[in-house]
Amino acid sequence: MLKDIIKKEILETITSPKFVFTFLLCAVLILLSVYTGITTYRSEQKEYNAAVALNKKNLESQQSYQALAGLGPKINKPPHVLSTIASGVSEAVGRVASVNIAYDPNLVDSKYESNPVFSVFGALDLTFIVKIVLSLFAILFTYDAIVGEKERGTLKLTLSNRVPRDRLIMGKVVGGYISLLIPLIIPLILSMLILLVYPNVSLTGQDWGRLLLMFLMFFLYLSVFFTLGLLVSARTNKSSTSFLVLLFIWVVFVTIIPKVSVLAASQLNPIPSVHEITAKKDAFLQQVQGGAQKKVLDWVKENAPNAAKDQKKYQEDFKKFLEDYQNDLTSKIDENNAALERDYQARKTSQERLAINISRISPASALMFSTMSLARTGLDDHEQFLASIRAYKPSFTRWVNSRMMKSINFSTGEQGKVNLADMPLHKFEPESLSKSLARTLPDFGVMIVLIIIFFAGAYASFLKYDVR
């Protein structure tokens, strides 16, 4: 009997006009989003390769270590192949950072900076389609699942037979869910095929693992709205009421909670602005630079008698003093900046975590956070990449200072040629799949808890549902 109910649910749905509309729209949107995702990824990959090559050329063309210290290497963030599915914040945050001795590196030049209009509309990626379009379809498929049958009288007719209610609701859940997944699964399989065969787009084993987890999250997210639809349908007496209630909850989940959570976090845990931090850094720099001049003059005054005795030794000592002092100053500035930055980042992270945790009560937020983490296009990946650049800066600074002092000929004022052979390189080890998974566990937990609550509610409500 369960099989008959499931079969009927599937057949009834797939022969309905709403299914045809849903299927076509899903197929077009999903395939289009994956295709545009791939083309965007490939152009970003080309841009990245070109930028890396140009940066190398620029560094090699520097005439002196002093010029190199001022310019510094540019670190470009490589695009990730899974941004084709979930672009996350990758288009909103910077993609390139300059590492030089003067400033703290920061990622700048985001896509939205160059094309602000895109920030208004956002990206049409698969996550967006699932979050907005398919969740609405889940509602469309379920708002009248029970109350609609009551209105049509088919519920009475069904239950006038030897049909246990628990079996009927189970049949509706399974059949309805399969019907909902068909418009998603078929275009998804086609999209995966495109990813497989598209030239210059290659996914590693870990990427496939990440992709499967993202799909699992999509299914869980749709299950939340599916079970919610059943619950509301089993708690109302009119399908129009059911639809309005569901639409209201959808708006709250998808748009209101995520926005309110950011506002709430900024009120509950305020942090200083970036400008305040920059002002503090500048003040310290000025203070240190002011003292530096005096220190150099003091050294010269103190050692002036030695210059007459042995000019060459005096110059060597002066070079040594300058190198040590420069390193000392740079370390002090770096340490101060790092301390300020650490404090700011810690407070910012704490505020972000608070906002994220508040918004996690919405399945839409949980979907966004988990897919961004899995696609490595989220805030965490951005912060880890930036941290790796900041960790790289001191080693570059030490290296360039040392080379700069060693290459200066104080008697002629000439500087030696730049040799990049032993320049330290920036390295970034992306987060492993297991770490990303651990990060997304709360989101999976939120989804599962909501599904259990909504399903249990729908089940219990239907057992007592007034079918008249």
């Binding site: 009288g153 009475k156 030897r162």
Partner: protein, 238 residues
């Protein structure tokens, strides 16, 4: 056989929908229950189908207490509602197939379904048409075909002739007579005194949940049922 013993339904708001109702519908009998809207006719059917629990008393289908064994009791009853709305995207065959399987009948062929559909007078060209395109009369016929193919010994009909054109109404009554002749117990709630008079073996009048009159076909001979109905309703009003 259908039977109620002191069947009572009082809602939480205090409304007494059925008040100590006792009657029987014997095999091979058509029992027509009359009453104004809200008199308790549909509630009685809902109690038979265990859609709502009784406050007091018992409803029995083939001697089975519907509250104690609700699922088993449903094996012995078919139900046709006032406005049969089936699955609109399904054809007559598909609707029939689904409800037949729910009724626990397996192994029926398309020919069996066609026979049932023909027996209720549904045009053959409608068998494969989606039921959302059916008229009310066609849907009622399909509903009756579902009841026929279940072949339960008892049939509950809730105002089945409401909104039907005279021809369709008459065809439906002929089918009910046929079912009665097969030995089935037919309980029909209706406002349609004219048609019911033609086929009823017994009639009952319900008012405010109580059975205020019960007469056999013989007792009704020579009586004007319409006048009797009005008279009973007015009397009790006073």
């Amino acid at each position: 056989m259908l039977e109620t013993i002191n069947l009572t339904k009082k809602y939480e708001d205090g409304h007494l929908a059925v008040d100590h109702l006792s009657f029987k519908v014997e095999p091979g009998e058509i029992f027509c229950m009359f009453g104004a809207n809200g008199a308790g006719k549909t509630t009685t059917i809902n109690l038979f189908l265990n859609f709502i629990p009784p406050t007091e008393g018992t409803a029995l289908i083939e001697g089975i207490d519907v509250t104690k064994e609700p699922l088993r009791s449903k094996d012995f009853v078919s139900f046709v509602s006032e406005n049969v709305m089936l699955y609109g995207s399904f054809s007559a065959y598909q609707n029939l197939d689904y409800f037949t399987k729910l009724a626990g009948k397996r192994g029926l062929t398309k020919a069996d379904y066609a026979r049932a559909l023909k027996s209720v007078g549904l045009q053959e060209d409608a068998f494969n048409t989606r039921s959302r395109n059916y008229s009310k009369g066609m849907r009622q016929k399909l509903g009756l075909a579902i009841a026929i193919i279940k072949d339960a010994p008892n049939i509950l009909l809730d105002e089945p002739t409401s909104g039907l054109d005279p021809k369709s109404g008459q065809e439906l009554l002929n089918l009910l007579v046929k079912m009665r002749d097969q030995g089935k117990s037919v309980f029909m709630s209706t406002h349609d005194i004219f048609r019911a008079k033609l086929i009823a073996d017994r009639v009952g009048f319900m008012k405010k949940g109580r059975l205020v009159m019960l007469k056999t076909r013989k007792e009704l001979e020579g009586e004007d049922l319409t006048e009797l109905y009005i008279q009973y309703m007015e009397e009790r009003e006073g």
